[in-house]
Amino acid sequence: MFRFIYNKLKYYWLINSDMETAGEQGLDQSREEPKDSVLTGNLSADLEIIREIVGTSPDIKVHEFRYGQNSEIKGALVFVDGLVNSTVIIDGILKPLKLYKEFSDYQSQSITKSLDTVKQTIICAGEITEKHTAGEIVESCLSGDTAFLSDGFDKALVISSKGWEKREITEPQTEAVVRGPREGFTENFRTNTALLRRRIRSPKLRMENFTIGNKTVTNVCLAYIEGVADPGIVATARARLKSIDTDSIIDSGYIEQYIEDNPFSIFPTIGNSEKPDVVAAKVLEGRVAIIVDGTPFVLTAPLLFVESFQSSEDYYIRPFFASIVRMLRYIAFFLTIAAPAIFIALTTFHQELIPTTLLFTISAAREGTPFPAFLEAFILILSFEILREAGVRLPRPVGQAISIVGALIMGEAAVSAGLVGAPMVIAIALTAVAGFVVPEQLDSASIIRIILLFLASSLGALGIAIGLLGVLNHIASLKSFGMPYCAFMTFHHNMQDSYIRMPLWSMLKRPKGIASGDITRRAAVKPPPSPTYSSPSGSG
């Protein structure tokens, strides 16, 4: 077992040393390159090479046809069925080729020239590139392009024809808001970049493309605003993305785990969101966004601890209630990690701190319950986690029935059977509900909660103090892309957006450290002008 732990630790050290170097020099990536054979010009031979690379997958179509004045020239289209837009192939490639009859001087022309004719005059498509090797052709085809090969040409034209079934832009399931935009990212890469671009029209919005994953060859885009985002953070993100060496990227979670600063911390140091407005706001604060093909979850970095308590809606509603709600979230977070521990500490160690009448009430509920208070709390937390996990996985139609049986009936029965005390159920239920107020820290809170519970049940309030101090110590040591995780939480920082949300017109500067260069949002603190009424022309 120690050997196993040791190996893990070694990995941890390795990661740390990697992270330090990754900032300056991107690691070389050893990518499995497709087999590169240069096209010969003989159509059947070339097609043979391609077939050799892709094997006999039925979805990879090779369409051979004849065109030209007397249909004397042999040509072929290679594409992947389902990834291409058939309208483009039919109307943009096949129809023009077959109907174009002015090939009089075709044979006499040089190969380059006649290919230019095809490219410039005949084919109607947005983007046409020339590819020389079979490997390149196959790679483009697999990402949805169509390759046109013709007898006598030692080049192929790769015509952009991407078009596959995709999900509509819908309201995201995770980040519901009362007020604010409802659209969410989709699984489609281009749609996602477009959604971001649509919110930030500035030409300074830069998007850098990466392809990561030897087998999946996933498109990944690093988006930031030049001049706003700190160049250091952008460089770090770029280097870390380049250094990823893996065969598959299925979700942005993969990227997150490969590039995060603290892989052994329970706290996330890279944020994610399903909503373009959230990502746009974060990019405007100077963060970088990482859009990954195939997932609606866009990563944002760096992530600070205070961000967990911010919601997009805070900025859409007026500042007073937003500030109250934000403080409420801090309280809820404290409750969700500490409520069971405090309850245990009070009822088993520090009964003198409970008001007398309340003590009698709690005591009455404890009367006759068979387990120690700690075990009672642990069982309840465990069953809540089971219910939550089941609730996520359950098919929608049975979900409601199961949660009613699980939560209501079982809870009520457990109390009336005298297995657990009602105050304990209330404490755990409060804990469970409060956890969802701060969804970003849901995972970490669940873990801290159990650690604190252990400490509280062996050392009482002292244990809670030790545990909370440890947590504080830990988050103070974390960094995210060079930013301290706890930035903007103390008086050394600008706390305009940490514990309360100041009015928009008073938040002049972007968060320093994340943004550099153009950090001014507004020139001066100026409340909205006092109204000068021009009499409404319609009335009177």
Binding site: Y6, Q351, A364, R366, E367, A373
Partner: protein
């Protein structure tokens, strides 16, 4: 295992072991304790022994939890007692004879039986101050009769009598805080050799099948021993002298008519002056402000006249109760007002000469009372159909 790992593994193992081997050293599950809400100390029939009575709340009948629909008719508390030479010994024997540990942190009050209080409570106070579960803010009371009787008196509205008595004291504190004496206050009065302490008296009244509790008057302690009582009227005088009346009413009588005045504010200022022999004289300025609550009589008299009259009789009434109280304390030779400590505080050089003789001086101490009263208002009406 490599060397680099050893310290880390050792630290982790140590932390884990410490956590486990502490074995929840101080853990007390709620269902293993009996929560003591009141403590009574009486003199036992056998000489030299005391009887310690504890009132223990029964959680099942008090709290709202547990099985619903169960008819709660039994008493919500238990009264246990043990006889021993000291409080600590009695607590020990109570602990040994019970299935549950006594939990004294939530004790609300300590009641001394009258006869025991007359024997002296200094030894009990010593034990209570030392005992770690005993808190300094517990209310102290003296029972007329014995303390066990008071602790075993069911209250109509409260399930646990001690909690009820606690609320009674808080209610009485609305009138004046002389009705609440905590362990700390009692001890600080007892430590001061020149002062005496006044502790509220509680009485259990049994009428047919009904029983109730009543708090009337104060017990005066001197040198750790109860030396006498103040009547309810004298208690009022005590409160006036201290300027510690917050609300309540004053009944005044002009001989022909009478009135109820609501006390709105009250202040007092103590000053010590000395004659040429160095003998002290205490001057007390008392300032009371009232609102007219009810007029009984006063037919046909003009309002200004009535108010002037009321001012005068109010001052007389206050003077009367204050003097009555002062006389009683002089009879008992118990300086409950702390005049001695006032002189000590403000005339410390002169006090050196008086300190040893205070016992002799106090019974004949001269008191000059200056009472100012003011009628602030006449309630919601200014013109009564009765007054002209």
């Amino acid at each position: 295992m490599k060397t680099g790992l050893r310290p880390a593994a050792a630290a982790a193992a140590t932390a884990l072991l410490l956590l486990i081997s502490s074995g929840c050293y101080d853990i007390v599950e709620l269902d293993t304790i009996s929560i003591v809400t009141g403590v009574g100390i009486d003199r036992d029939e056998k000489p030299g022994l005391i009887r310690l009575t504890v009132q223990v709340g029964k959680a099942e009948t008090v709290g709202g939890g547990g099985e619903t629909g169960k008819e709660i008719s039994e008493k919500a508390y238990l009264v246990l007692d043990a006889t021993d030479r000291s409080i600590v010994g009695a607590l020990d024997s109570l602990r040994q004879d019970n299935s549950r540990t006594l939990f004294l942190h939530h004790n609300q009050l300590i009641i001394f039986g009258e006869s025991h209080a007359k024997d002296g409570i200094a030894d009990d106070i010593d034990a209570l101050m030392r005992y770690h579960q005993s808190h300094m803010n517990v209310y102290m009371l003296v029972a007329e009769g014995n303390a066990r009787e008071v602790l075993d008196t069911e209250m109509e509205l409260e399930k646990i009598p001690s909690v009820g008595i606690d609320r009674m004291i808080k209610n009485k504190m609305e009138i004046s805080k002389v009705y609440s004496v905590s362990l700390l206050e009692l001890v600080s009065k007892l430590i001061d050799k020149s002062s005496a302490a006044a502790v509220p008296i509680i009485k259990s009244i049994k009428e047919k099948d009904l029983s109730r509790l009543s708090m009337q008057g104060l017990a005066v302690f001197k040198n750790g021993r109860m030396v006498g009582k103040l009547s309810e009227n004298q208690t009022n005088g005590y409160a006036w002298m201290l300027g510690e009346i917050k609300s309540g009413s004053l009944k005044v009588n002009t001989g022909k008519d009478s009135a109820e005045l609501n006390i709105r504010a009250c202040e007092s200022k103590v000053k010590a002056v000395f004659d040429k022999n160095g003998m002290p004289k205490i001057q007390v300025d008392i300032n009371g402000r009232f609102i007219v609550e009810q007029l009984i009589g006063f037919e046909g008299q003009p309002l200004e006249e009535v108010i002037g009259l009321l001012n005068k009789v109010a001052a007389d009434t206050v003077k009367q109760v204050v003097l009555s109280c002062f006389k009683q304390t002089q009879r008992l030779n118990a300086d409950i007002f702390g005049f001695g400590s006032h002189i000590h505080k403000y005339h410390s050089r002169k006090w050196k000469a008086l300190e040893g003789r205070w016992e002799q001086i106090y019974p004949s101490l001269e008191l000059a009372l200056n009472i100012q009263t003011e009628i602030l208002g006449t309630g919601k009406i200014s013109i009564s159909p009765k007054t002209a």
